[in-house]
Symmetry: C2
Subunit: 328 residues, 2 copies
Amino acid sequence: MGIRIGILGYGNLGRGVECAIRQNPDMELKAVFTRRDPESVNILTESAKVCHVNEAREWAEKLDVMILCGGSATDLPVQTPEYAGLFNVVDSFDTHARIPEHFANVDAAARKGGKVAIISVGWDPGLFSLNRMYANAILPEGKDYTFWGRGVSQGHSDAIRRIAGVKDAKQYTIPVEDALKAVRAGENPDLTTRQKHTRECFVVAEEGADKAAIEKEIKTMPNYFAEYDTTVHFITAEELRRDHSGIPHGGLVLRSGVTGWEKENKHLIEYNLKLDSNPEFTASVIVAYARAAYRLSTEGAKGCRTVFDIAPAYLSAKSGEELRASML
Amino acid sequence: MGIRIGILGYGNLGRGVECAIRQNPDMELKAVFTRRDPESVNILTESAKVCHVNEAREWAEKLDVMILCGGSATDLPVQTPEYAGLFNVVDSFDTHARIPEHFANVDAAARKGGKVAIISVGWDPGLFSLNRMYANAILPEGKDYTFWGRGVSQGHSDAIRRIAGVKDAKQYTIPVEDALKAVRAGENPDLTTRQKHTRECFVVAEEGADKAAIEKEIKTMPNYFAEYDTTVHFITAEELRRDHSGIPHGGLVLRSGVTGWEKENKHLIEYNLKLDSNPEFTASVIVAYARAAYRLSTEGAKGCRTVFDIAPAYLSAKSGEELRASML
């Protein structure tokens, strides 16, 4: 019998987790928990059940790990502490500034329940964090750079959709090629927000809407667009569906550092992701950490962890011996 | 008082470790152990001693970690098991095929001595292994690629130097740009040895030597050059010293994989190193893992580990709280 997994929340991320479980033969999806009417939710895995979220507690003995696929704004701050007392859990909490607080809440709940919780799993936070950390430990004297994109920012797309006269919209965050070139050349540039990323918007306007006004409202929107060089394209609903229905993303973490008695030698560490599907890739990371949560729990571990606290081998279905023979 | 470090073997790697310790304020180099006459060895750290390797055993209580900087061919297979019984040790054993055997020998010694040993630390094996492992755990369906270079291969340079009529030589391994392009484009090419790397040789010939014969001998040398497209340049000793005295290296680990119910989405994970000094960068990785060895030992751990077995946070001088607040 495989590791028994539950999914709480069946949006893009939950579906991504379902797909990822299928690619890992040591895991089995047992149930999906939803706030909607379970009858209305169609999942892909025939052998798994769809249950109302209110039934989740009854599954405490029937699941090895519950994967929490809610949003970071309002769902996870409540859900992760709540379920960490009952299940081993993994979440993708990504509000960087609130991670310490979330960690404390989840840790208390998981310790009380004798469970393992792993928070903030995905690629940023997650794999990007790991790469920042490894690179900083190895090159203590240096400079960090993180670039995001080319990819869809859901938050920025939503912000455009809230503008009067906008029917639909998709926003891409794009690293500035010249900035990247300077970093890769070891120039250690100081980069402003504007120098690091541009924003490209594809907007479907309502009939008769004032496009010039929409464009101006986008480009001057504080925090979202005003600090960036932003391009706005008006397209048809058909074009949006045809050319911009995917959820690609990616990005880079770089550390440029020096070694040597006189700091005479330069080094560059670059980690680069190009992702066709942001939620499916995030889900794939989460599923690997679900394996880790399960294993740690079988070893008697308790409490909250992040990617920093988990030895890499816990993520792999292979044994230590296999890993040393095939991947070291 | 910082973590007390000893260095055994004072070649390029040993000197790199000495430099790296200087960049880590929580560490202190106490002694360098050499097979040469200690009087003849000048180190850079004024506060550290130079001792003969025969005195190493007397330092068992005076060091927290002994870093073994010998070679993988003959030194480390003997030294690491020998010293793992007395000290927490870190080595950079890089004969991939013999790692399982080395692990077993070191593990037995370290367990007996109640010490922690971390073997095969550096960038390959080491950081590249980590990236292969993480990427495989996250994208179970996909294809791995490792490219090395542009960088100096010591083994290949040595092979050229053994040819009659050759005074000195330096060999660079270079990834084939088109192969890299195909991998990055998600084409999942099957690549032969010749399609992955080219080899570029800079050779100083002895006066009156038959350059055509030397070039032919290089290009047809089995295992080293025959399987590659090799370029040979004859240059003067002065040019070799001026243009090729560095020990740069680097390379890339890529994994190209798919996700989705029908495997419809592609993803690319790339890890890329550009290093001015191969030994200094390797040393920097080793020193971060020396911190991990020390910490694991203070927690009561015993036995042999590899990079797969060590939670990333152990490498950092920062606390878990600091890491979560600043790097997650």
